[in-house]
């Protein structure tokens, strides 16, 4: 099994970036790596339950993906948690700004986390930023 920790920081709310972040997180998690995902800024808005707004695409790839059977990024993050050793943390600052509570977010997200804890957890891992 692969080892090592991967920290995925997702800031962008665009489809392409969310998709790539979800692919990295899910494949790493099912390959035996410990995965920490930190969702902040525009990325977090897509994890509020019942939100109907779809992630906007940045360019051609995103537009092409929308018409094909590409696994949804939210499904991939959920599978990273269910099938592998992944944790998805919502940023507490972004939650405060959005005015959302834990129960407003998708159920596979862990408790709100601040940067101090995340930076501490990320210290001995690779950091991937999207």
């Amino acid at each position: 099994m692969a080892t090592g920790k991967i920290c995925v920081v997702v800031v962008s709310g665009s489809l392409e970036r969310l998709q790539m972040a979800a692919m990295v997180a899910s494949v790493a998690a099912v390959s035996g790596q410990e995965v920490l995902v930190f969702l902040s800024m525009n990325a977090l808005t897509h994890f509020i339950k019942g939100r109907a707004i779809k992630a906007p695409h940045e360019g051609e790839m995103g537009a092409l993906m929308s018409g094909k059977k590409v696994p949804e990024f939210k499904t991939l993050f959920e599978q990273a948690v269910e099938l592998g050793d992944a944790k998805v943390y919502p940023c507490s600052m972004a939650m405060d700004v959005l005015g959302v509570e834990q129960q407003d977010l998708e159920s596979y997200l862990t408790e709100a986390t601040g940067l101090t804890k995340f930076l501490d957890d990320a210290r001995d891992g690779q950091v991937w930023t999207f």
Binding site: M1, A2, M23, S26, V27, V30, S31, G32, M65, K68, K69, V70, P71, L76, Q79, L83
Partner: protein, 76 residues
């Protein structure tokens, strides 16, 4: 008694077929053979890599009319 299962990932893009295989592996027994069907060439390359990495047995990959058949055996 070992079974043979088909995992139909046709039409889905990477990493969809891999995720479907992993879900199927969870409900399989050691020794079972799983054949993934995929129309995504990337998955045909990536699934054998994953299988070797995590320690299952990779058996074969064949292609027929745009469909890849990746066969593996659950070994743990």
């Amino acid at each position: 008694m070992a079974e043979k299962k088909i995992v139909d990932g046709r039409g889905s893009f990477c990493p969809g077929p891999l995720m479907e295989l992993i879900v199927a592996l969870k409900s399989s027994q050691i020794g079972d053979e799983l054949e993934v069907l995929s129309t995504d060439k990337g998955s045909a390359n990536d699934i054998p890599e994953w299988v070797r990495k995590v320690g299952h047995e990779y058996i074969s990959t064949t292609e027929d009319a745009g469909v890849w058949h990746i066969t593996i055996r659950k070994s743990k």
